[in-house]
Each structure stands twice: as C-alpha cells, then as structure tokens.
C-alpha cells in the first residue's frame, strides 16, 4: 500500500510558556493510502499539535514530515499555503464554514481556489452534498443548518477537492451522540468509496470504534497503535 504520510522523529516543543512544553516526542508514524485512523489520548496529549504539523499548519521543532516524497517541515509559508490547498482537506471542530456562502458554495470553495472549471466544480459539489445527505439543503447558508449538518458540509468540502488526505480535529466534539455517529458513518463510507486517507482526533469513546486504526498518544508520545477489522 502506498504511503501517504510519513513522520520521523517528530518533536514539538512550545518554548513560549514558562516551562517548555514537550507536546510531541519522537513520533514515528506512517499512514497508507485509504486508511481511516483515529488519534486518541487524554487532553493535552498532543493530538492537535500532531494534526497541525502533518497538515502543514505548524512546524515541528525537530523531525520530518514526508508527504508525497517531500518534507513539508522545510517548506516556506507561501509554499505551504499552496500545498495545503492542493493536497490536504481539513475539518475543524467548529466554525468550518463561511457564513455568507451557501452549502453548495462552501463545498465548491476549495475547488474554486484551485481554479477548477465551473461545471465540474458544481457537479462535484452537488454530488458530495448528496453523499452527506444534504442534497435538499444546497442553497442554505450555514446559519440555517444544525451543528451536525454543518459538520457534514465541512466533510463534503474537505473531500470534494479529492485531497491526498483529510485531517479532522475533533470533528464531533460539538455534536450530540446521534449526529456524531452519523458524521463518522459518513466519513467511514466516503473513506471507502473515495479511497481518501482520513485521520481524525477524538476524545469520544463512542466514535473511536468506527476507525480501522487507532493511535493512542500519551504525553506527546505514541503509546499504542492498533488495527481493527471493521465491517
């Protein structure tokens, strides 16, 4: 299986606080094409830091992040903007969507920034909204969607541009149980159908079992890395 992301000796130290915080310590991980991985661990264990670094939003203090054969840890900020736009999809905990755009426009947004053709873009955006079960809400603005629906639009947006992988930092943290399961189910299905590598972090025991691989971080280090067979 093709390796999408590979980290070697990844470390992150936050020096701006009184005592330096070792948020990540020597993390060596590989993610293959099509994997569906949950990153779990107690609060402060480094989940967000890890996702930010492999997403090119933050720089490691030490180590390498190899994506598509390039080390993004050495990239300049302007290169990273473009790299994120072309290779990585993001879903955040909340406020993912642009309030003044409709669901359809939000899903199209990244493709628009990538300068895809208009017809293809709209076709793809509609299809993705159908996939996440919001075919009837394409012209609604985020303010008129529930939290769960908004997160589904965010997932549709992250996947619509067919990135190499999608990172989701606690995508279900603000959702009720039913919406959380629903979102994870959609993510699992899309992961299979689109064969897009998906990595999400969570605190939430209920949704962990949707993942086929579960990595547990403790104090910035990999504690466990387990694979599960799922239906």
């Amino acid at each position: 299986m093709k390796t999408v992301i590979k980290t070697t000796n990844l470390s992150k130290v936050y020096k701006d606080s009184v005592v330096p915080v070792h948020a990540l310590k020597n993390v060596n991980l590989e993610f293959s094409q099509g994997e569906f991985t949950a990153i779990v661990g107690p609060s402060g264990s480094g989940k967000t830091t890890f996702l930010n670094i492999i997403g090119g939003l933050d720089k490691p203090t030490d180590g390498h992040v190899i994506i598509d054969g390039v080390d993004i840890a050495t990239m300049k900020e302007s290169q990273l903007f473009d790299f994120r736009l072309r290779h990585i999809g993001f879903v955040f905990q909340a406020y993912n969507l642009i309030p003044v755009l409709t669901a359809l426009e939000n899903v199209s947004f990244i493709m628009l920034l990538q300068k895809q053709s208009k017809q293809e873009m709209e076709k793809r955006a509609r299809a993705m909204l159908e996939q996440v079960g919001l075919g009837d809400k394409i012209n609604e603005r985020p303010g008129r969607l529930s939290g769960g629906q908004q997160q589904r639009v965010a997932v549709a947006r992250a996947l619509a541009s067919k990135p190499d992988f999608v990172l989701a930092d606690e995508p279900t943290a603000n959702l009720d149980t039913e919406s959380a399961f629903n979102l994870l189910d959609i993510m699992a299905r899309l992961n299979k159908e689109e064969n897009i590598t998906l990595i999400f972090s969570t605190h939430d025991q209920r949704v962990i079992e949707r993942a086929r691989r579960v990595i547990t971080l403790v104090d910035g280090a990999v504690d466990k890395d387990e694979y599960f067979e799922r239906a």
């Binding site: 406020y95 642009i98 920034l113």
Partner: protein, 408 residues
C-alpha cells in the same frame, strides 16, 4: 477574484445595521465636506465677482506711478497706443471701462461732505455692474448728459433731492482748481456705507472737464472673457507696454487685503474639513476593526484550508472600499442635490452675518457652488482616507497566527 468580491459584498451585509450606520457616517462626512466647500467656493466666487464688478474689474491699465501714489497727477492719457493694444487683444477682452476719479468737497448751502467723484461711461458701467439698477430716484445719465447721480446716503446728509444743485470743489490735474455745479438727476443706493455716503457719478467727459484732465483716466479697467485668463492676459498686456509709463495690475494685486482674507478663510475651512476627515477615518476604522475581530476564527480557518493571506487581505480591502465607496457616492448624491438647490435658491442673510458680508463689500446672500471639482476632490479625499484605514486589517491579516486564531 470574482469570489473575493462576492465574499466581501456579502460580508458587508452580515451586520446590516452596522454597515448601514458606517456608510451613513461616511455619507454625512462627505456631504458636510462638500457642503462646506461648496459654500466656501460659492461665497468666494460671489465675492470675487462682486468685488471685481463693483470695484477694480479684473485688470487695470494705469500710469506707472499711480499704484504707489494714486493722485490725479498720476492719471494716464488714453492714447492710441493703448486703444490699439486693446483692440489687438479683443478676442480675450470682453470690454473696457474707463474711469477718472478723485476726492473733493461736495456741498449744498452750508453743508459739505467729502465725496468721491467718479467719471464714467454709463453704458460700460452698466455692462460691468448694472449700475443703473441701483438707481432709486431719477435716472442714470447718458454719456452726453451733464448732470450728476449721487449716492442716497450722501443725498440725505446734504439734504439733496432730485433737481437740486450740488457744488463740487477740489484739486484738479497738476494743481489746477476743480470746481463745478451739477444738478442731481438721479439717486443711487449702495449697501456699503462708505460707498453710500460718498459716491458722486458724473459722465466721463464732464468729470474730465471738472478735473481739468481731458482724455485722462485713473485707470482703464479691462474685463476679461474668461476669469482664468486674467493672469495670462495681464502678463501679455504688460509685455506690450512700456513699464516706464504704464503698469498693468490684476485685481489680486489691486486688492491684496481681500486676497489675504480669502486665504485665511480658506485655511480655516480646510482645517474644519480635515477634522471631519479624521472623524470619518476613525469611524470607518472602528467598524473595520470590529468586523475583523469578530471574524478572526473564521480567518484562521480560511487561511488553514488554503486561502492565501493576500486573498484574505483583498477581501478586507474590498469591504473597506465598498463601505467608503457607497458612503462617498451617497454623500456626493446628497451633496449635489443640496448644493444645486442652494445654488438656485441662495440663502438670504440677515443681522450680524449680513453686516459681515456688507463690510466685505459683498451682497449678504449665501450662494453655493456645485463645481464638479468640489465633488471630485471631497470624494477622492474621503476615499483615500478609507484606503489608508484599510491598511490596518491588511497588516493584521498578514501577521495573523492562523493556528491560534482558528483555535479560539
């Protein structure tokens, strides 16, 4: 780019009321600045044209010594040389107005007053300042008549009525005694007291005879075709005249106090306008800052998913531009309507204000100008201020820490 414009436009209307208030404040500032400038320019235009027509005209040709010592001995002869020169420039000269004048004593019976005798060609004065429209009793003389038209204040002081005889006594050209008696054939009313209490008009020929200075003039007033040509024409005329004998003066040289007064007031109004600009500038800045801070998390996310900082900065700039543009446009619209109205319906002044105008030799009404450059100047100034204000969010965005912004 289209997307950025759409985003900026829609962002503007997220908080409709606030945007509306900001636009209104820009509008009122633009409007006030325009109204201020319009009033100032209108007043200036009015003063200039009123001063020019009632006193000096645009340009005067004088004897070289007259300006420094304005006495009858320094009058000039209206030579062929000058008449030829005037006709050579006839395409730039509307008409000329010859005058001779001097102070003397005017009396009736036992009473006497200092008067200012001015010899005029009535049809020329008519063109220049519609003098005869001020005649309240009797009528203006024609060039061939030999009676006087005197100011109403003087008539009252000397108890002169139509048909009465005015005795004039003074000094004429080169020490000769000037003396004459004239029938009062018309009474003329001036607003400015110094004119109303002193003016005595005589037909030019009569006055020249009276002063013993036939064919001589204190000055030949030149009325230009276009006001903007004043300086140029004066220079051209001066070039063709021997400075040994003749001087050419523009109204600004003849009335330096007036020009200084204009400049002082211009400076005051400009200062007021700038205070206004600063206030608007802070108004826009306030809105932009709040718009920015309530969206920092959104900005963080937009930057994370691949929107470039420059694109985001562009959105914010567009928002600023749109707000100020709408405000300026509305202000200009409102300003244009208001100034057009007041241009055609000038405000009549009364009381102390009116006095000030009268003192300045100007009719006491407010006329507004709606010259396009006022709108262009005010509009662009406020617009540029908005652009300067727009630098704040751009700087902020270029430095924004997107991770922290997205996390909050």
């Amino acid at each position: 780019m289209k997307m950025l414009i759409i985003l900026a436009w829609r962002n503007l209307w997220r908080k409709k009321r606030r945007t509306f208030i900001t636009i209104s404040s820009v509008m009122f500032a633009a409007f006030l600045a325009i109204a201020l400038m319009s009033m100032m320019d209108g007043m200036r235009d009015q003063m200039v044209s009123s001063i020019i027509s009632s006193t000096t005209g645009y340009i005067q040709i004088q004897d070289a010594l007259y300006h420094d010592e304005p006495i009858l001995d320094h009058t000039m002869e209206l030579t062929d040389e000058i008449s030829d020169l005037v006709s050579q420039f006839s395409d730039r000269i509307a008409f000329t107005v010859p005058r001779i004048n001097g102070f003397c004593l005017g009396s009736k019976d036992m009473g006497s007053r200092g008067v200012y005798v001015t010899g005029i060609l009535p049809e020329k004065e008519e063109k220049m300042n519609a003098l005869s429209s001020r005649v309240t009793e009797g009528r203006m003389f024609s060039a061939e008549d030999d009676y006087a038209v005197i100011a109403a204040g003087l008539a009252r002081q000397l108890d002169l009525a139509l048909g009465d005889t005015l005795v004039l006594l003074g000094q004429g050209f080169q020490g000769a005694t000037a003396a004459g008696t004239y029938q009062v054939g018309g009474i003329i009313e001036f607003l400015m007291p110094e004119q109303n209490n002193t003016m005595v008009y005589l037909p030019l020929k009569e006055a020249q005879l009276f002063f013993g200075a036939p064919d001589r003039l204190n000055s030949l007033i030149i009325m230009v075709d276009s006001e903007s040509d004043t300086e140029g024409l004066a220079a051209d005329l001066a070039n063709r005249l021997d400075p040994e004998w003749h001087a050419v003066k523009t109204w600004e040289e003849l009335l330096p106090d007036q020009v200084a007064a204009f400049e002082a007031r211009d400076a005051q109004v400009r200062l007021m306008a700038w205070i206004l600009y600063v206030v608007v500038g802070f108004g826009i800045l306030g809105t932009i800052i709040t718009m920015m801070h309530e969206r920092l998390r959104e900005f963080g996310i937009l930057l994370s998913i691949g929107l470039k900082r420059t694109q985001l900065a562009m959105i914010c700039m567009l928002e600023t531009i749109m707000i100020s543009f709408l405000g300026v446009l509305a202000g200009i619209g409102l300003g244009f309507m208001a100034t057009s109205w007041f241009k055609h319906h000038p405000i009549q002044l009364e009381g102390a204000f009116a006095e000030v105008f009268i003192e300045l030799n100007v009719e006491p009404i407010y006329k507004f100008s709606n010259a396009p450059d006022i709108f262009i100047y005010q509009g662009t100034t406020i617009f540029i201020i908005a652009l300067v204000v727009g630098i704040y969010p751009i700087r902020k965005i270029l430095r924004l820490d997107m991770i922290n912004a997205a996390r909050k």
